[in-house]
Symmetry: C2
Subunit: 187 residues, 2 copies
């Protein structure tokens, strides 16, 4: 949309925020496709497990007639980057002052702990106030163990997290941050 | 089942081959559960992706009314072991003299190549003649590139593969072989 007398600003906005309306999940899928196509990393979204109740056959093909969405016991994404195992989840909150920990289920927290225990890389990508932060699993666990709060304040997220800037291609280059944290490289 | 006059043999069979009747997939799932419970590795079977056609609501719960099984573009299992990313598939053949390569789809082969390219560990666990072999992805690719055969002869499997002995717990300890091949340790 163009606003009179404000052409330049609007134009820049279109360039630098092409993903503004894109849901976080779509941005991550888009980024993962980019990583795959460019042989950078192999990261997949795990399909939601389905509990199948009834199956029928139609033209010799198996068709699911009744099923339900089961709960994932892990995080949404996992994969391979530079030989290492990565496991993470994407969380969006409309809360402007804090990230409610109710977004993180107990079994997900346990999973993060296990991944770290086995030298894998576990983290969250959190969208808050239209900004994206990568929160390393280690820091989330420390926060939860040391604090009694039921949410991580926005100011704390800015301190303990790493901002992922929106980009043109890939839209959310979180592996840049992973390089910086886990492979000890500068941006 | 007990056969008259053959009690001992049947009894021994029950002890040493408790998994004889178990499908390969069940043995691997059993083994992965053992690895998880003992903090050895985190390895999961990827759920089969489902294409959902119709969803309805019942008592405020989302229920899938019609769906189909989609094709997995990758291998069946992936996970984390000693910080490294693992990706593999389990294949069973009733053929006694060779493993037909038609069991390995082209996109699966491409996936194996990608995993290796990115320093991950990719392999197959093949059941042939009631024996279990771990075939490293690198060796499978070399075989396919150098040979024109449409199957891997049993004798070649024995040469290029690593036998995984059936065990009591876990039933198929394939990570022992992974240690040996990829972490340069002796059994």
């Amino acid at each position: 949309m163009l606003y009179p007398g404000n052409k330049n600003r609007t134009y820049q906005k279109t360039i630098s925020h092409k993903n503004r309306g894109m849901a976080l999940e779509a941005m991550i899928n888009d980024t993962n496709n980019y990583y795959r196509d460019h042989d950078i990393a192999l990261i997949y979204k795990k399909p939601t497990p389905i509990g199948i109740v009834k199956v029928k056959y139609k033209e010799q093909k198996k068709i699911i007639d009744k099923a339900y969405f089961a709960n994932k016991s892990t995080l949404d994404y996992n994969g391979l980057y530079r030989g290492k195992y990565l496991d993470f989840d994407a969380k969006e909150t409309t809360n402007k002052t804090a990230f409610p920990l109710s977004n993180l289920h107990n079994h997900q927290l346990e999973h993060i702990k296990k991944v770290i225990l086995m030298n894998g890389i576990a983290f969250l990508i959190v969208k808050i106030n239209c900004q994206y932060y990568l929160l390393p699993g280690e820091k989330i666990i420390t926060f939860i163990e040391e604090e009694t709060r039921k949410s991580i304040p926005y100011t704390t997220i800015k301190e303990m997290g790493f901002e992922i800037k929106e980009n043109y291609q890939p839209s959310l280059d979180y592996l840049k941050i992973i390089d910086q944290i886990y492979f000890k490289e500068d941006l």
